[in-house]
Symmetry: C2
DNA sequence: CTCCGTTTTGCAAATCATTTGCATTTATAT
DNA sequence: ATATAAATGCAAATGATTTGCAAAACGGAG
């Protein structure tokens, strides 16, 4: 994903391109898996002076602009992920919490007429598989 | 769902059947949609003297025993739902937050070989559709 | 039916993620 | 270079959830 496009998009809408902001975007963009605010913050502070509230405010802004999405994968913490990295879903390990990106997608086979009958207009689908990753598979005895 | 079975299950495992506990089970059992701890607490205090920590401790216990499941449908709050009410998924309205139970299920068409290749052993699938319910559909302009 | 040991509860305080108010700093158009 | 709106840092607030501890309630044994 090209960060330049995102940055231009921000400027066009009148948002400023601060050092913190572009570092945050870069971190989210490079990450292979969804990040928590905590993780983004840890990574960002290595590169610049930054405050937690700045992280949160930017995550909110980027979500609003649909540059990133938030995921409620795990109770208590929100994960964030760059959009436009292609449509995909997640496999979440109940042992170590690792989040894998998976290409399996149920959306094709979705019968949208059933939703229409409910008067429901879908905008997003989330499909998550919980289980044990290869590492945790062995110690599944809990 | 028969509450008696759940209660027997608790006793068999050495847990006591307190007034609070059986009221909580009853509330969760009767609810058509997933509840938050807050909602369960509100409903329970109409019927008995109860404290928030009791609610949380019991929600945790019931989850551990797989009598209920927790859902991370909405950021910031956990929802709880009786299990064995049949396999189903949810449609969550982004307008009012209403959670509808839907019978659409992608699980049949899931190609589990793809997961095996990843060394991932699935235990649960979650499939959630976000969008706008019939009431909120009109004011979707936000 | 009462007593005892164990489990639960209530209460208050702690924790953790996230949000907010406000004064100060910074990015950008001119 | 300068003005100004937007963004940041800091500290304090909020809201959900958790925890320690003493008191109360459950369920089995006598």
């Amino acid at each position: 994903m090209d960060v330049y496009i995102i940055e231009k998009q921000l400027r066009n809408k009148g948002y400023k391109l601060t050092e913190q902001r572009s570092i945050l975007i870069d971190i989210l963009n490079k990450s292979e898996t969804p990040c928590t605010a905590q993780e983004v913050y840890e990574a960002a502070r290595q590169k610049c002076n930054i405050n937690f509230s700045t992280v949160y405010r930017n995550l909110e802004l980027l979500s609003k602009l649909k540059i990133i999405t938030s995921l409620n994968i795990k109770q208590g913490v929100t994960h964030f992920e760059i959009m436009g990295a292609g449509h995909h879903h997640h496999a979440i390990c109940k042992g170590c919490g690792e989040v894998q990106v998976i290409e399996i997608c149920p959306c094709h086979s979705l019968d949208s007429r059933m939703l229409e009958q409910l008067g429901f207009t879908p905008t997003e689908l989330k499909f998550e598989i919980y289980g044990y990753c290869s590492k945790c598979n062995i110690e599944q005895n809990r």
